[in-house]
């Protein structure tokens, strides 16, 4: 009887341990997969370089304050990718109203972001997850 009891307790302990370790290995956030703050900074810096050297998108950004854009984009990405940030800047509609961005220029900018993600060596599956998070914002950015 007692042996059977100890066995049960041992089993319970093992189950709990497994459950706990499962807790610890909860699927990481996209923010963590990107490499948290440092990883986001690398990504956004690569994106800034892509924009700065691109003839199509550069005119939109020529007069833009680089530090303001960098800080805002990092925080926004951190928020969208479930990181510990709350983006409190202007929303996507406020930012893009009046820019009248067409399909071509929008898609081209997405290509620049993909190029930046390649540059900082994010896996393609992670890139797809990030793009899936950003995709719903398209309607708030384009043709307004």
């Amino acid at each position: 009887m007692s042996l059977s009891n100890s066995y049960k307790r041992l089993l319970l302990a093992i189950t709990m341990m497994v459950a706990l370790s499962a807790c610890q290995s909860t699927p990481t956030t996209l923010y963590q997969q990107v490499g948290e703050q440092a990883g986001l900074e690398r990504l956004v810096d690569a994106f800034i370089k892509q924009i700065g050297q691109d003839e199509v998108v550069f005119p939109y950004f020529k007069q833009t304050n680089v530090s303001h854009f960098r800080a805002g984009f990092i925080t926004h990405m951190c928020d969208v990718l479930d990181g510990p940030c709350t983006y409190e800047g202007d929303n996507m509609v406020q930012i893009h109203t009046g820019m009248k961005i067409n399909e071509h220029d929008f898609n081209h900018t997405v290509d620049l972001l993909i190029a930046a993600m390649n540059e900082v060596r994010l896996s393609h599956s992670l890139q797809n997850k990030i793009l899936a998070r950003l995709a719903p914002l398209r309607a708030q950015i384009i043709k307004i």
């Binding site: 833009t64 304050n65 109203t97 009046g98 820019m99």
Partner: protein
């Protein structure tokens, strides 16, 4: 014939008296502002120090617009107590700010959403920027009275004959941006030349500046 002569003489007298009137009205001093290389300086502000005239403040707000990601005008001169509105003629948003002691403020300007004008009570200099577009720089000079003048392309300002001393200021001056230098008018002269040391503006924190080599300018 004699009547004609009389008419001619009356006409001459009349035109002479008109001319003398004009010359009295035009009696003024000319100040020429040059930089450290002797080149004429446009957009220098000259404010008379001895003027104590208290004019009623203009009710209509002055306008500092935003056009194609630039302040328009780049330099606005007003009198203390006057209001300035910031209409934003661009389709896109701007975020105008001032850190200047004479009037710190910030104004988020979304297209088609006008904001109430701002009153500038303190005389001095306000430097304007835009948080979003760092290429945008503007200046508001708030004078004590309406006795202030802006130099033309030749660096000249016409001042009243009574001028004895004045302040000089320029948006690109080498010294502190909010400082105005005091000068005395040289006694007995109707023309005077004054030098102001200018400096090249700091590069802006923009994509345009950061990637200018890539785009060949």
């Amino acid at each position: 014939m004699p009547r004609y002569t009389l008419k001619k003489r009356v006409g001459m007298i009349l035109s002479l008296s008109v001319l003398s009137c004009v010359s009295i009205a035009l009696k003024a001093k000319t100040l020429t502002i040059v930089d450290q290389f002797g080149n004429p300086v446009e957009h220098a502000v000259v404010e008379l120090l001895q003027s104590t005239a208290q004019q009623p403040v203009t009710k209509t707000p002055a306008i500092m617009d935003q056009v194609q990601k630039q302040f328009a005008p780049k330099l606005l001169t007003i009198v203390k107590g006057q209001q300035v509105s910031f209409p934003n003629s661009d389709d896109i948003r701007h975020h105008v700010y001032s850190f200047s002691p004479a009037k710190p403020f910030e104004l988020k300007l979304y297209a088609g959403t006008p904001k109430a004008p701002i009153t500038f009570e303190q005389p001095g200099v306000v430097v304007l920027g835009c948080n979003i577009h760092d290429s945008m720089v503007g200046y508001i000079y708030i004078a004590q009275s309406s006795a202030h003048f802006v130099s033309d392309e030749q660096g000249n300002v016409t001042l009243p004959d009574t001028t004895t001393s004045y302040w000089l200021w320029h948006p690109e001056q080498a010294q502190e941006i909010i400082e105005r230098t005091e000068h005395d008018w040289p006694a007995g002269h109707s023309n005077s030349k004054v030098e102001i040391k200018l400096t090249k503006p700091e590069p802006r924190n923009t994509f345009g500046e950061m990637f200018k080599e890539h785009h060949g300018n």
